[in-house]
């Protein structure tokens, strides 16, 4: 009997497509940010994508379709298959604190890939929600006149820009942790590519 796959093919595909789309969005987004920085710093041009503002905008507004379409497929299949609640729920603050304590002491178990610990659940659900915030705030920055409800929800054009930036920073923070954890537990990288 074949070993069952921890991650179905659609999940592995959407994960890696998302990773690539996020890489392009972030790298081109940094270049766009540099054209008119919100805060008192800018990103080194050498780690940005697009060469100049127009090039960065072309990349950003092309990769956004990949990010959004892939995100819709991910969410639809996740909920249709029941995987989302199975994997991420229940999620209690108590369990997060307990597992966070265990992680800090280096005693958090990773032996069962079929079950995420509470910290993982929180981190992954956070990444999903953060991407939703990035897409919605991005819609306001892109078309603030055409999405009046969203615009008011984010407090206007200028503050939607700030939210878009902070959500990007949070996603980059998540990614740094995520990559570090995958490096610490290399088995997870195999699971996300081969499926088992």
């Amino acid at each position: 009997m074949k070993t069952a796959k921890v991650h179905p093919l659609w999940l592995r595909l959407t994960h890696w497509i998302n990773a690539l789309a996020v890489l392009v969005m972030v790298a081109s987004g940094w270049r766009i940010y540099n054209a008119s920085p919100i805060f008192a710093f800018h990103f080194p041009d050498s780690i940005t994508l697009g060469g100049w503002l127009a090039g960065a905008l072309l990349w950003h507004f092309a990769a956004m379709w990949v990010l959004a379409a892939n995100g819709v497929v991910y969410l639809a299949l996740n909920f249709a298959s029941g995987r989302f609640p199975r994997r991420f729920l229940p999620l209690h603050a108590r369990d997060v604190l307990r597992d966070l304590g265990a992680a800090v002491r280096g005693r958090l178990a990773h032996d069962d890939p079929w079950h995420y610990n509470a910290v993982q659940k929180l981190a992954y659900v956070f990444a999903v929600l953060d991407l939703v915030v990035l897409v919605l705030s991005g819609l306001v920055v892109w078309k603030s006149v055409q999405f009046p409800l969203l615009r008011e929800l984010f407090g206007g054009y200028d503050s939607a820009r700030v939210v878009h930036f902070l959500a990007m920073a949070a996603l980059v923070g998540f990614t740094a942790l995520h990559v570090a954890m995958a490096a610490l537990v290399p088995k997870t990288l195999l699971l996300m590519t081969r499926g088992r």
Binding site: L23, A27, L49, A54, A62, S144, V145
Partner: protein, 255 residues
């Protein structure tokens, strides 16, 4: 006016040539892009053929034009603000420096009208000022990301297009400007009730740095789609492009 424009051109040509030197030409921007950072690190070599990557990105940009035209609601108004929220001083922004702003003589000035219009007579400033005027306080959003609130007054552009007997079923309205700038917009946006042929800023005659004698103020588009120092307006079905659009910026650039 003719002489003025020629005098401007002689200097401007040299200055523009100097400016163009460090700035990347249109076909260069992706070549630079693809050798940079992230993506090439991942693959250790050039990820994709640069010419075809550029072609795909331009294709997607054309597709994004269509999506934006579809999203654009001719009846949806850009938000307006109280005068107390006007950004002071309102930022100057152009492809040249403030000391290169063209000085235009009001008296000999004529606005030329061309293309698919019935009445091609050139307009003097007093003629334009005699048309019904309206003003509005709206947010100017720059393609760079910053925004500022200002108050523009002038002739509703849809009224003007109807007055000159423009073919309102044409696709584009193009603008060529005294600062050698050019741009073009879709007819739906040209007919939007907030699109103004602006002759004043903040209650006074439009100052040179904001586009004297007139600019097109479009609160439903990014700043670079709002041409200043307009010399000629033409209605056409042939895609006219524009100064920044020809260099890779998205044509529709709605907001």
């Amino acid at each position: 006016m003719k002489r003025k424009r020629l005098a401007l051109d002689e200097d401007a040509v040299v200055r523009r040539a100097l400016r163009e030197l460090p700035s990347p030409a249109r076909r260069l921007f992706l070549r630079r892009a693809l050798t940079l950072g992230g993506l090439s690190l991942l693959s250790g070599c050039t990820l994709v053929d640069e010419e075809s990557a550029e072609r795909v990105l331009i294709e997607v940009s054309r597709f994004n034009d269509e999506v934006q035209a579809w999203l654009f609601d001719p009846n949806r108004l850009a938000p307006t603000y109280p005068e107390s929220m006007i950004t002071r001083p309102f930022p100057f922004n152009a492809y040249y420096d403030r000391d290169e702003v063209p000085e235009v003589d009001a008296e000999p000035y004529r606005l030329e009208i061309g293309g698919l219009v019935a009445d091609r007579h050139a307009w003097t400033l007093p003629e334009l000022r005699r048309l019904p005027q309206t003003d509005q306080v709206t947010r100017h959003i720059c393609v760079e990301g910053w925004s500022a609130i200002g108050k523009w007054g002038g002739v509703r552009f849809s009224d003007f297009l109807k007055r000159v007997g423009a073919d309102l079923t044409a696709k584009y309205v193009g603008f060529s400007c005294l600062d050698d700038y050019s741009t073009s917009i879709d007819m739906a946006t040209a007919l939007h009730p907030q699109t103004l042929l602006a002759l004043s800023y903040d209650g006074r005659t439009l100052p040179p740095e904001y586009g004297f004698p007139m600019k097109l103020r479009i609160p439903t588009k990014l700043g670079f789609k709002n041409p200043k120092h307009i010399a000629a307006i033409f209605v056409t079905n042939v895609y006219p492009g524009g100064y920044w659009e020809d260099r890779g910026y998205n044509w529709f650039s709605g907001s």
